[in-house]
Amino acid sequence: VLNTSERLSAHLGRALRLTPEISMTLVLSLSALLAGVSQLDAGPKIDPAHLPDDVRQMMEAFAGRDIFTAAGRFILAGIRQGGRPQESLGRSGGWPSCRWIAFGGLPSGFDLAGFGAVILGANDESKLHHVDGHLSDVAMSNPFTATILEHIEQATPWLALCRRQYMWWFADFEARADSDTLRSGLRAADQLWREFDDADNSR
């Protein structure tokens, strides 16, 4: 299996202009995606003509083929972004470029209300507009936070800083977390997420 996977990765890497290592990641990611979405089509095969319109529309909306293609685009975009973050950020700039960073699968390190570090990645452009008013004292005590915010404001790359911020947060959080902290942190993060959603919905 490994030999075949390696040969395949090398072939796909050449075709798609990716390194063999990244190509292997792509193959594994798409295979996992396919295994997941194939379950959506694993139900009994029923002639759509025999289904009510609402049920038929629902089944069409959750068809594995469409979801594979849509999610596959994100994976490819993320992999390409992961390979060339500086180039892509420099070319496009601004909030949309920040949004693409998260497709590399990397959580950013914003520590919301003392927890929630992995909740607010750069995966939602609209939510980034609401960030600065919600950062906790803990988040602001992270030495990388202010620098990241400056980079976001200037639309310059900040992914590497984000990783460092996350690792700093993780070490700090691990040292001070207990079960009460976890519970209250999750509640606070959930509440903040609702506020972001409400803010988006009201725009």
Binding site: V1, L16, F68
Partner: protein, 71 residues
Amino acid sequence: VLLALTAQKFEDWADSLFELVHDGIDDEAFLEAYQEASLRDPLMLKLSARLGGVIEHNVSIERLIESKRMC
């Protein structure tokens, strides 16, 4: 038998990708090709979906190791 069949399907699937994906292919065409290769043989996905959860749980360790070395 199911392990061997799964391994064979994996090889066939890889061969399909070698055939369908060519140098310079764009991302959209690649995704189409990947999906086509995966759907060419309906057994491929069915066996893959059951490999870790069912098939591999019902063979001996020796058979499992053997199957991992087959391709």
